[in-house]
Amino acid sequence: MNVKSNGGLLHGTPSITIAGGVANSDSTTPDKSEASLYPTPSFTHPDLSLSSQLCVNHQRNNSAYSANVSLIDIYGADSIIELSPKKAQETETPMNANILDSLDTEEGDTTDELSVQNKVSKSFSTNRTISTSSIIPPGSVKSSDYESEMKRMLLPYPMSISKVQDILNSEFDMYGFKKETSLHVISRQRYDSWFKDYSEYLNNRQKKWELLMRANGLSVRTGQIPTRFPPKSDKVKKMIRRGIPPEWRGNAWFFYAGGYEKLNKHTGIYAQIIEDTRGLNNKDTEVIERDLNRTFPDNILFNEMVVTKLSKTSSTSFTNVENESETPMIQSLRRVLVAFSYYQPQIGYCQSLNFLAGMLLLFMDEERAFWMLVILTERIIPNVHSKDLEGVHTDQGVLMLTVKEYIPSLWSILGRTYDGEILEKDKILTRLPPVTLVTSSWFMSLFVGILPIETTLRVWDILWYEGSKTVFRVSLTVCKMCLEDPDFQRTGSSSTMGVETEQIELFQFLQNYPKCLLDPNEVVDKCFKKIGGYGFGSISQDEINHCRDFVSKQRAKMKDRKLSALNAELTDEERSILLANSNFDNEIHDVYGFHRSIMSGVVWNRNISSKMKKKFSRKHSTD
């Protein structure tokens, strides 16, 4: 398969490269501008202005794809390099043209939402294909480490043995991450031996997905990234849980998360925000600046040092890359984060959003990544990144309730404070166990930097399709796996150990353990298959929502109570008496009581928890 027909797993990314721009600075202008069109404007040769990069749009009349349209308004028609649809198609490979034809036939000329969606996605995929094809024009590639690295990363699925070999020969994985970094616990050797098997799995899944697509009347051609996916169903859910083909991820996430609906309702907004936030300087942008290079320093697309190192060993034609002070990806990351902080002022910028945006940018363009962040923070994990991190407190409260309910053996360790007291159930919410400091980052970063990349991505596949219950299910799975790990059993089960030490051991173990979970299938299987007391997949979204509701209401009540006690016109002495008063205490405890009557509407999954309890008590009686 040649590079030309590939969507490119890292589509835009490698374009650093840019290829068209840097490596082949004398290629034709339409090529360059097309290359820059997607996924992100910054991917072009530095001397192309942002406006010319963004404004190329041969689908101007398509109102759905209005980001570019409105950019044209902003920048004025003068700066536009226009391509007629015909001209644009000329730059495509014949295969792409066919795909477009077939899509057209399928869609018909209706104006319903789906058709608009398809047109939108068509334009994305067209652009992407063109951009990729122009990145490394056939015959013009000189061999060099840098180039071959970038070229390899453009290689698509299904992978042939030789491509797998390419990845095996590289320091970097298929997403541009260093297989082994100073902070990772996984050795290159271990990665490679896992990947050898996993690549076969990926091939199989790819074939299964193609069958699924065809069964749903969606055509798939080799090397093409689909933009439409089958409607949600049990079958599709199962397929998603087994993993979306890496190359399809961006489109599939966007499709199932409702990205098109969001994008269509807010046409042109992203471009407008980019314009409005140019040169913005505030508290948020300061923190963003400091985090840009601390997002994925181990990824070739995010770290100019990695690039520079590679380009130094390559031919002189890469001097441009060397002189770049930051990678195009970093520039995209900056724009998305600044735009987000501006669009969602109640959140602004919260550390960890950088990891989420960074991961999204590996799979989709800026505008889509932006809207995915909005969807995530509005709908999936609301308030988790807000200024008071209220959502973190709430979700950790919910997580602790579920741990207590479903993994009592873990709760017997978690539920203690450093001072060794057993946290009564009614205190779960007033004083979250310290270990929630570890688990709160799981929720904020959605496992980016917590689990190995592929495992994280498999969780994301499920998350965008199934929603926030996924984070709880996976968290419980990881906790239980950690607890049952022989290494933890060895350190953690010693009865001579003080409570404090035990807590700390658990904290540290829980912090490091997820980094070893290299095999996504192990985690996903444990999460969903009811074997050995796992199977947290039966915790429903309703249950989570009810718990969230419960926890956040209790927290609000607690807050009110404290405030009114503090604001009452009392002397300090009276206030101290009031606050120390046992009645007041009891009241709080009633409010926070983890009594089933209060948890109205919460339907616990008795099945799992009774099994867990049985198992736990059995274990204890045999001890």
Binding site: T181, S182, L183, V287, R290, D291, R294, T295, F296, P297, D298, N303, M305, C350, Q351, S352, N354, F355, K387, D388, L389, V392, H393, Y418, D419, K427, T430, R431, L432, P433, P434, T436, L437, V438, S440, S441, M444, S445, G449, G498, E500, I504, F507, Q508, Q511, K562, A565, L566, D572, R575, S576, L579, A580, D585
Partner: protein, 217 residues
């Protein structure tokens, strides 16, 4: 309290995001430095065993935190029981120096320390390896001002100041040895006062009262 607990010293590193908290901790504990640290989310901790001058064996438990302001609301859980607090700034970033006072206040509020005026703080200015031209202009003068300001409510204490480079391993070891000694002293005081610490549950409420009272003086 048990003899075992005496040797375990809890140290918290605070400071603006990007001043080098993680790097300092890594340099001290593992004697390594990487340009590739990621932003810290939540909190992280490492342990290191030390033998002090008097042959006293201690284990430092060093807590590294997220520098962004909003993460302080998560801090309650781990500020508690701290024996020493490192206030960290970046010698190239004046804001991070000026923010030390609010970091100190925030720590005292959240940790509910019983004797705030005696609590040991240490100040570390990191990144001294960088070019002088990039450093805060008249750093020493500004630093002295801040240190004096920090010590206003302290019982005649002066807080030790170290200028370090986690990158080039300058002064990091020395700073943490002082941290260990200060933490050990504090731990011994805590142990002596252990009987007084009866009421734990109203911490969250007491916090606000305390801060109000401080506002009055």
């Amino acid at each position: 309290m048990s003899g075992k607990k005496k040797t375990l010293l809890k140290v918290i590193i605070l400071g603006d995001s990007g001043v080098g908290k993680t790097s300092l901790m890594q340099r001290f504990v593992d004697d390594k430095f990487s340009q590739q640290y990621k932003a810290t989310i939540g909190a992280d901790f490492l342990r290191k065993d030390l033998t002090l001058d008097n042959n006293k064996q201690v284990t430092l438990q060093i807590w590294d935190t997220a520098g962004q302001e909003r993460f302080q609301s998560l801090g309650v859980a781990f500020y508690r029981g701290a024996d020493c607090c490192i206030l960290c700034f970046d010698v190239t970033n004046e804001k991070s120096l000026n923010n030390l006072t609010s970091w100190k206040d925030e720590f005292l509020v959240q940790s509910n320390i019983s004797n705030p005026q005696d609590f040991p703080f240490i100040i570390i200015g990191n990144k001294i390896d960088v070019d002088d031209s990039k450093k805060i202009p008249s750093l020493q003068k500004k630093l002295n001002n801040i240190v004096n300001q920090l010590a206003v409510n302290a019982n005649g204490l002066t807080y030790p100041v170290f200028e370090t480079s986690a990158k080039d391993a300058i002064n990091v070891q020395a700073a943490f040895e002082v941290v260990a000694k200060m933490a050990l002293q504090q731990e011994e005081i805590n142990d002596a006062n252990a009987n007084d610490a009866s009421d734990d549950y109203n911490d969250a409420i007491n916090i606000h009262l305390e801060s109000e009272q401080r506002g009055c003086c």
